[in-house]
Amino acid sequence: MQRFRRIVTAIALAATATTAVAACGGGDSEDDSGAKTLKLWHYESENSAMGVGWNRAIEIFKAEHPGVEVRFERKAFEQIQQNAGMIINSSEGPDIMEYNKGNATAGLLSSQGLLTDLSAEADKRGWAGKLSPSLQTTARYSDKGVMGSGNWFGVPNYGEYVTVYYNKDLFERNGVKVPTTMAEMTAAMDTFVGKGVTPLGMAGAEYPAGQLFYQLALSKADRQFVDNYQLYKNPVDFKADPLKYGADTFADWVRKGYVAKDSASLKAEDMGTAFIAGKTPMIVSGSWWYGRFKTEMKANWDTFLFPGNTLHAGSSGNLWVVPANSKAKSLAYDFIDITLRPEIQDLIGNNGGVPVAGDPAKISDPKDRKLIEDFNTVSKQDGLAFYPDWPVPGYYDVLVGGFQGLINGSKAPDQVLDTIAKPYADGVKEITGK
């Protein structure tokens, strides 16, 4: 009994000590120039574009820092997604790691003081010059953790954007040309519908439906709308264009048979495998599929930018962040700098990734080059509009629920807009306090 009591006391003491320590966490230790190890974590698979590029970056780093040991570990995405806060709040965390961009992830940790402010390094090493404004949006967070302004807390290495993948063989067989305007796009889809083929792959149970809606809305939008919707600059009216246009057009596309009604319950994986199997002529989805299609798809295929849009769903990829508890900050900065060098950026591009500062002329494969040129086009015209589910926490499920109703015809566009407007307004109120 006495021992039991002692254990209880110990636990109670430990708990009190924790709260006391947690309250004053996040102390800076800038003088770490003597660090002899760099603990580096990321979650890209070995043979993905980023995996290949970063392996090379580690080699260069080792060559330039003789005597420094790089302790690299490949982590599970799930593990970082769920535990990053706990991991970097301990002394066991990495010195530099890849982390998810966005308000709910990098933004949240930066507002808790768990990430190092990289602004001085970004200025000194010229990172700001290498990244376009819409790429910088996800790298900078305000003191409340809202992206778009404030200090640098992360540095992206690659980009991603929503584009149109099409099956060349199916296009040729049905006598369809690659559309360059929205009118040509609908004409092309009419041709497929006329031949009994559903032209557009869709997955109502996951992100593709929300992204298509957003993409359609963006065709009538400008940067001001994106700032309002994503960065809460002004209130957003869901019953007016561009969002109204997006929902109406989406419903129209379902009615005309461009999108299959029974795709409401499909997952993104189903949509992707149907495209790989050559069953779907087109899908509107992100550049994250690119590498997989390249290795797995037998039919001829290529990509084209969603016709008629200057704004496209997309953003920087995940970020390099330096935890506040990092014991080798200056080494971490050196490593980030190496990953932004042309050599590494081109390597990412040549392996099917989308480098943020890549030179298309250095990319050998024409399809890879097209992907990167398109991205650079979007990025240069400040056209990255982020993703529809970003503004408020938990919005992803709201969008999925709303557009499932639109695809299977159980809801009118007006009703869908009502469904998604209220959680948005509530969420924004919670974040901005207005």
Binding site: S45, M297, K298
Partner: protein, 293 residues
């Protein structure tokens, strides 16, 4: 069929021993059990089928198609990329230690509660049951902070301690009720022979409970083996991780690699199946141990 039922009523006072003449219901039960077993095996069949399929094959043919080639790269990738032998050792070490320690703690707790009859034992057992029913998600943050403060964060010892407690909560609950029905006369006889508390536990109670303890051991091992959340949070280094956490590393942000995941699951399942096969007889004996008395 009807003939079988009406034919040759068993001689009075002697039960029928021939199992082939027990009527149609036996066959119905057999058929149902067979169907049930086959249904249980379907997911394993899918796993086996897709583990040897190339990713391209999987994407174009779907999960049901027959593989066009015998593809083993998924297995090899998984084995080398996650350093499987190390993960196997980690999992075995953790699950094995938890199984042994958990059973030992349960036995001691239950001896105090079931045979020692300490005061308020009903409440204590109830508390143990409650601890067992708490969702692990609710425990994560307190566990994390305590582990961090006492320097056990990111060590296997932390996971071993946590699961020893969690598993022995269930073990205590179960064993305490088993020991509550332990024949008093046996204990009294031992006491008359001059046996102390320790001797009674070791010489009288333990041998009688051995089959039950063996079953507990196996359950604790397999439950701990399959645990995901707590190891995921507590073991952040690749050097210390367990197999289920390693499996999760195959899942990316927006993409999945179904064949490699299948291959990984297949390899990861093998040790648990082997363990089960080896101890299967112990399990069966433990479950029927009470019935024979």
């Amino acid at each position: 069929m009807a003939v079988m039922i009406t034919e040759a009523p068993a001689p009075a006072g002697r039960p029928v021993r021939d199992r082939h003449h027990r009527g149609v219901s036996r066959w119905v039960v057999l058929a149902l059990v067979t169907v049930g077993a086959l249904v249980m095996l379907v997911p394993f069949a899918f796993m086996l089928l897709n583990a040897f399929k190339s990713p391209g094959d999987y994407s174009s043919g779907g999960p049901l198609s027959w593989p066009t080639e015998f593809y083993t790269k998924g297995l090899r990738t998984y084995w080398t990329e996650v350093n499987f032998p190390l993960k196997l050792w980690n999992s075995t070490l953790i699950a094995g230690s938890v199984a042994v320690l958990g059973v030992a703690v349960s036995l001691l707790n239950a001896y105090a509660l079931g045979i020692g009859r300490v005061r308020g034992r009903l409440w204590i057992v109830g508390l143990f049951l409650l601890a067992n029913m708490l969702p692990q998600e609710a425990l994560i943050y307190p566990l994390y902070y305590v582990a961090k403060e006492i320097g056990l964060y990111n060590t296997q010892l932390s996971v071993i301690i946590i699961f020893t407690v969690i598993q022995s909560a269930f073990g205590t609950y179960l064993l305490a009720s088993v020991m509550g029905t332990f024949p008093r006369s046996l204990l009294e006889a031992a006491a008359l022979d001059g046996a102390g508390k320790w001797t009674v536990l070791w010489r009288v109670v333990f041998p009688n409970l051995r089959p039950t303890l063996a079953v507990l051991l196996i359950f604790f091992f397999i439950w701990t083996w399959n645990e995901f959340l707590i190891p995921l949070v507590m073991l952040i280094d690749n050097q210390t991780q367990t197999i289920p956490v390693a499996l999760a590393s195959l899942q990316g942000d927006r993409l999945m690699d179904a064949p490699t995941t299948n291959a990984g699951s297949l390899i990861s399942l093998v040790p648990a199946i082997l363990f089960f096969l080896i101890f299967q007889r112990t399990l069966a004996r433990g479950i029927t141990a009470g019935a024979e008395k």
